[in-house]
C-alpha cells in the first residue's frame, strides 16, 4: 500500500447559507481501499462526494488525489483528474434521451475517441461485466427496472477504466437480493480495476459487503473511523445507535416543527 493516500481530505468546510454542512472533514483513503461513509440523511455525505468530484466548491480545506490538489487544478487539470473517476449516482442518473448502450459508452462517444460501431461493441462487453445481456443496450433507460438501471449506471462508471470509483447510495430502493447483487458487482469491479472506492450508504449490510474501511459522518464531522467489519461493534455510541437503528442514543433526530 502506497504511503501517500489516494485521496486526502483536510479541513473541508462547506456552508449553504447559514447552514454548516461539512465542518472540517479530515479523511484519508489509501490506494486500493474501499471506504464506506455512513450517516443519517442530511449529514453531508453526498456533499462530501460532490466536493471531491468538483461539482460543489468547498468554502475551506483541501482535497488531494494522488498528491495533487484538486481544488487548485485548472479546467484541464480537473478534467484529467475526473477522467480517472467513475461515479454511480443514487438514482442511476442515466441519460434518458439516449439508449442504454449510448449511456454506457458515453465517455467514448463524447470524446469521439472511437467510432459508434466500436463504442457499441465495447458497451456490450461492459454490460456483460455487470451481468446484463448486450441486447439490453438497445433499450431506453425508462424501460429498465431499478436494479437494471443501477447496473447500467455501474457499467457507465467503470467504462472508462476509472481508478477511483464513487458510489452514492448504491442499494437504495432495491430489494435485499438485488442490493446484494449490486454490492457483489461493485466489489468485483473495484477488485478487477484495482480501484480505490468511496461509497456512501445507509444500508449496513451493504456497508459491510462493500467496505474495507468505514467512517461515520454526523453533523458535518467524522465522528468515527475504523474497519468496516467493526461497524456493528465499534464501541462508539453514535455508530452503535446508527448501525443498530436505535431510537434512543446520542444522535438526536432534529424534527422540524
Amino acid at each position: 500500500m502506497s504511503a501517500v493516500p489516494k485521496i486526502r481530505i483536510r479541513g473541508l468546510v462547506k456552508r449553504f447559507g447559514e447552514k454548516l454542512v461539512l465542518d472540517g472533514i479530515n479523511l484519508d483513503v489509501p490506494t486500493g481501499t474501499s471506504m464506506v461513509v455512513i450517516g443519517g440523511s442530511g449529514t453531508g455525505k453526498s456533499v462530501l462526494l460532490k466536493c471531491i468530484l468538483g461539482l460543489i466548491a468547498p468554502d475551506e480545506g483541501s482535497i488531494e488525489i494522488d498528491g495533487k490538489d484538486v481544488l487548485a487544478a485548472n479546467g484541464a487539470g480537473r478534467e484529467d483528474l475526473r477522467a480517472n473517476i467513475g461515479m454511480l449516482f443514487q438514482n442511476g442518473a442515466l441519460f434518458d434521451s439516449l439508449k442504454v448502450w449510448e449511456n454506457v459508452a458515453f465517455g467514448l462517444l463524447a470524446t469521439h475517441a472511437v467510432s459508434r460501431a466500436n463504442a457499441r461493441a465495447r458497451a456490450g462487453e461492459i454490460l456483460a461485466q455487470v451481468g446484463l445481456d448486450a441486447t439490453v443496450g438497445d433499450l431506453s433507460p425508462a424501460e429498465l427496472s431499478g436494479g437494471m438501471q443501477k447496473r447500467v449506471g455501474l457499467a457507465r462508471a467503470i467504462a472508462g477504466g476509472a481508478n477511483i470509483l464513487f458510489f452514492d447510495e448504491p442499494t437504495t430502493g432495491l430489494d435485499p437480493i438485488m442490493g446484494a447483487v449490486i454490492d457483489g458487482l461493485i466489489v468485483d469491479c473495484v477488485k478487477r480495476l484495482g480501484s480505490t472506492a468511496i461509497a456512501i450508504t445507509h444500508d449496513m449490510a451493504s456497508a459491510r459487503r462493500i467496505g474495507d474501511q468505514a467512517a461515520m459522518l454526523y453533523k458535518g464531522r467524522i465522528v468515527w473511523q475504523g474497519a468496516a467489519d467493526d461497524l456493528m461493534d465499534s464501541a462508539n455510541p453514535m455508530v452503535d445507535q446508527f448501525t443498530h437503528g436505535r431510537r434512543e442514543g446520542p444522535i438526536q433526530m432534529e424534527l422540524r416543527k
Partner: protein, 258 residues
C-alpha cells in the same frame, strides 16, 4: 415607508443579479461555440425540434394573422376610401412584426418550455452532474447546440411565416373583400422591400436565441424536484415572451424609426 423602499431595492437588486447571471450564462455558452468538441448530432436534433416540428403551429398562426389583419384593416381603411392599401398593410404588418413576434412566442411556448423541462429534469435527477463526471462540459453539450439551433431555425420559420401570412391576407382579400388576385399580388410585390425581409429575419434570429437562452438558463438552474422543474418551465416561457416583445421594440426603433 422604509420597508417599501427596502422591498423595491431588493427587487431591483434581484432583477439586476438575475440579468447578470443570464448574461454570464450566455457568454459562457458563446465562448464554447468555436472550441471543440462539437456536437453536430445534438445540434441537428435541436434544429429539427425548433424548425420542422414547430412548422405547423407557426404556419397556422401566420395564416390566421394575415387573414385577421386583412379583415381588420379593411374595416378601418374602407371608411376613408383607402381599401387599396390593404395588401401593403398586410405585408408590412406580417413581415415587419407579426411573423417574427408571433413565431417567437409560439416557439417559446412549444420549444422553450420543452427545453426548460428537459434540462430541469436532467438537473434534478443528477444527469447534469453525471455529464460533468464523464468529463463532458454540460454547457457545451446541452446549451450550445440549442442556442445555435434556436438562432438558425427561427429565421427559417419566419421566412415561411412571412409567405403564409401574406397569403392569408391574399386569401381574405380575394375571396371575401373583392380584390383582384393578380393586382393584390402585384401590389404586394411592388411594396416589398429587401430591408423589411432582412430585418424580419434578423429579429427572428434574435428571438430564437432568446427563446433557447431562457429555456436553457431556467432549466439548467432549476432546483427542488418537480415543483422546481414546473417553475423553470413557466419562467422560461414568461421571460422569453417578455424579452421577445422588449427586443422587438428595440430592434424596430433601431431599424425603422426615422
Amino acid at each position: 415607508m422604509t420597508a417599501l423602499i427596502a422591498a423595491v431595492g431588493r427587487g431591483v437588486l434581484l432583477t439586476l443579479s438575475t440579468a447578470g447571471a443570464i448574461a454570464l450564462f450566455a457568454l459562457n455558452a458563446l465562448s464554447h461555440l468555436v472550441r471543440p468538441p462539437f456536437y453536430g448530432r445534438l445540434f441537428l436534433r435541436a434544429f429539427i425540434e425548433f424548425s420542422y416540428f414547430s412548422l405547423p403551429v407557426v404556419s397556422l398562426t401566420a395564416i390566421f394573422s394575415g387573414m385577421v389583419i386583412a379583415l381588420q384593416s379593411y374595416a378601418g381603411f374602407s371608411r376613408y376610401g383607402a381599401a387599396s392599401a390593404i395588401p401593403n398593410i398586410v405585408l408590412i404588418s406580417v413581415v415587419r412584426e407579426l411573423a417574427p413576434v408571433l413565431a417567437g412566442l409560439m416557439v417559446a411556448g412549444r420549444v422553450g418550455a420543452a427545453m426548460a423541462a428537459e434540462l430541469g429534469t436532467m438537473r434534478v435527477t443528477d444527469q447534469i452532474d453525471a455529464l460533468t463526471t464523464l468529463s463532458t462540459n454540460p454547457i457545451k453539450y446541452l446549451v450550445v447546440p440549442r442556442l445555435l439551433a434556436g438562432t438558425l431555425a427561427l429565421p427559417l420559420l419566419v421566412l415561411v411565416a412571412d409567405v403564409l401570412g401574406v397569403m392569408g391576407g391574399w386569401l381574405v382579400g380575394t375571396a371575401k373583400l373583392g380584390f383582384n388576385s393578380h393586382l393584390y399580388l402585384a401590389n404586394t410585390a411592388d411594396f416589398l422591400q429587401t430591408m423589411d425581409v432582412v430585418v424580419s429575419l434578423a429579429k427572428a434570429a434574435v428571438f430564437g436565441f432568446l427563446v433557447a437562452l431562457m429555456g436553457c438558463y431556467h432549466g439548467y438552474n432549476s432546483r427542488g424536484g418537480a415543483v422546481g422543474v414546473g417553475a423553470a418551465t413557466t419562467n422560461a416561457v414568461v421571460s422569453a415572451s417578455i424579452l421577445i416583445l422588449a427586443f422587438d421594440y428595440v430592434l424596430t426603433e433601431l431599424f425603422f424609426a426615422k
